[in-house]
Subunit: 292 residues, 2 copies
């Protein structure tokens, strides 16, 4: 027993463990999570930016290995799902975290209001079309979770259908993880007050007006319903193989640090390797040096 403990203590506890939402089906109470907290994080913004820069190099290196491995048949890939209220920083995370990577290997998809064609199909149809290929890092800015979030809050589907959707989502994500997709689901947890501050900033700056719509204030009026819908989605769809991570998002530097760190931990766990040459290196070198 003592031995086991000391072994565990040796291993640095990962951020993944710290931020992971329990998957036992317990009720999730978002009110009990402080959106300004910085669990496991650096002490301030300056330190965070320095660590993010360092992680950037490691992330890009691991991304290259993941891609290289795929050229030799390794089918593994990563899917990062970003969810959160308006202004919680989904777009900012893509810019600052995914911006650390080689854009060639990233498949980014921002899901908007479904088009008439998308509405003709089951809700996972457009999701499947946007999945990353082997070796890629896929990024979803919003996702199939909108179909149990806004769909619930706005009553876009009957309750019975919503209930079925949680199960469908879980089966879908299980099939992904069974097909070499590492699923990293991040809920960017923003406070009501911070959302007001961010919306006001968008109003104060003419170069941010384009990001604002009066409809954002109407959505804000539905805050409690959204929080409840998120609590349910986190509770029903936090599974051992496709866990949810709850990321306090009131501080942008912590949010970027935490998502970078989560991505890093998952890529390090995959530990992709450069493939070995399947050709005669020495012979090729000779051919090239002989004048070819």
């Amino acid at each position: 027993m003592a031995k086991k403990r000391s072994k565990k203590a040796e291993k640095e506890p990962g951020l993944s463990e710290l931020l992971r939402v329990p998957d036992g089906g317990e009720r999730v109470d978002l009110g009990s999570y402080d959106a300004r907290a910085t669990p496991g994080g650096p002490e301030d913004k300056k330190a965070a930016l320095a660590e993010i820069e360092q992680m950037g190099e490691r992330l890009a290196g691991l991304q290259e290995r993941l891609w290289a491995a795929s050229t030799a048949g390794d089918r593994r890939r990563v899917l990062l799902i970003l969810q959160g209220m308006d202004t919680s920083g989904k777009g900012g995370t893509v810019k600052h975290v995914i911006g650390l990577l080689n854009p060639s290997g990233c498949r980014i998809k921002a899901f908007k209001t479904p088009t008439p064609e998308e509405l003709k199909h089951p809700f996972l149809w457009r999701i499947r079309k946007a999945l990353p290929a082997p070796g890629e890092i896929g990024i979803f800015d919003r996702s199939h979770y909108e179909d149990v979030l806004i769909a619930r809050v706005r009553g876009l589907a009957p309750r019975s259908e919503l209930t079925r959707r949680y199960a469908r989502i879980n089966r879908f994500e299980q099939s992904l993880t069974g097909n070499d997709v590492t699923v990293v689901k991040c809920f960017l947890h923003l406070s009501y007050d911070e959302q007001r501050a961010r919306l006001l900033e968008r109003l104060d700056r003419p170069d941010k007006h384009w990001k604002f719509s009066p409809g954002d204030i109407d959505e804000r009026a539905l805050w409690p319903a959204y929080q409840e819908a998120y609590e349910l989605a986190l509770r029903r769809c936090a599974t051992p193989r496709a866990p949810w991570y709850l990321i306090p998002a009131d501080r942008k530097w912590y949010r970027n640090w935490a998502v970078s760190r989560l991505l890093l931990e998952h890529l390090e766990a995959l530990d992709p390797q450069y493939p070995k040459a399947d050709f005669d290196v020495e012979e090729c070198r000779k051919r090239l040096l002989k004048g070819a």
Copy 2:
């Protein structure tokens, strides 16, 4: 006359002018262009890297404006086409130049050997599907030009068909520029010797073996035929509205600097603007402050 000249002298001559392939239908002789040259460029690698970093901020700012403008109906977008021999640095350009941008607004497509489905369609079919949407910056790593390059060298299509393709490509690109797409075609001009050095480096480094295939040496044997095919493509398809830029690519720092600079000049010429608010800013601020 003197006045005109002095006006021209006032304007800093852009890199676009310097690298633009003449569009009068004259024969292009690639042998007369030094692939190690650095026309208009900084004096050394160190200076280039510093300038690239500075340009990165301006590029990202212009990209945001382009995107913001598209949310208010501006349909303009940019398409950067990268062509060049193996190891000329198409992938490296995406990593280092496009890596300066917000990945959300980039639509990157690497064209490989056509799939059986793609082969069933006209050669521009797969190209049209990968075009950037309004506000986006599209990047093609290889393109429809492969259909007059490898297709010519490997005899994948009859000569009469190849001849028709130049005209089709020109019509296609005219239709793009007529539809608010700024087309920036970059030929990364590499020397035969530098290609050998880069292939040898891939052999020397086990972490680069995955980028190498013995077939690369066979393709290299066709170097003169490829150069001729490029000369023809540059000659036939350099048009006033969709010009070709010839970028000496033996020095990676110059290549990255030059493509960054070309992109910057084109975005600055577009001069996209943040859209004005189409809502009552003051009223929204009041609603938010009143407790919403």
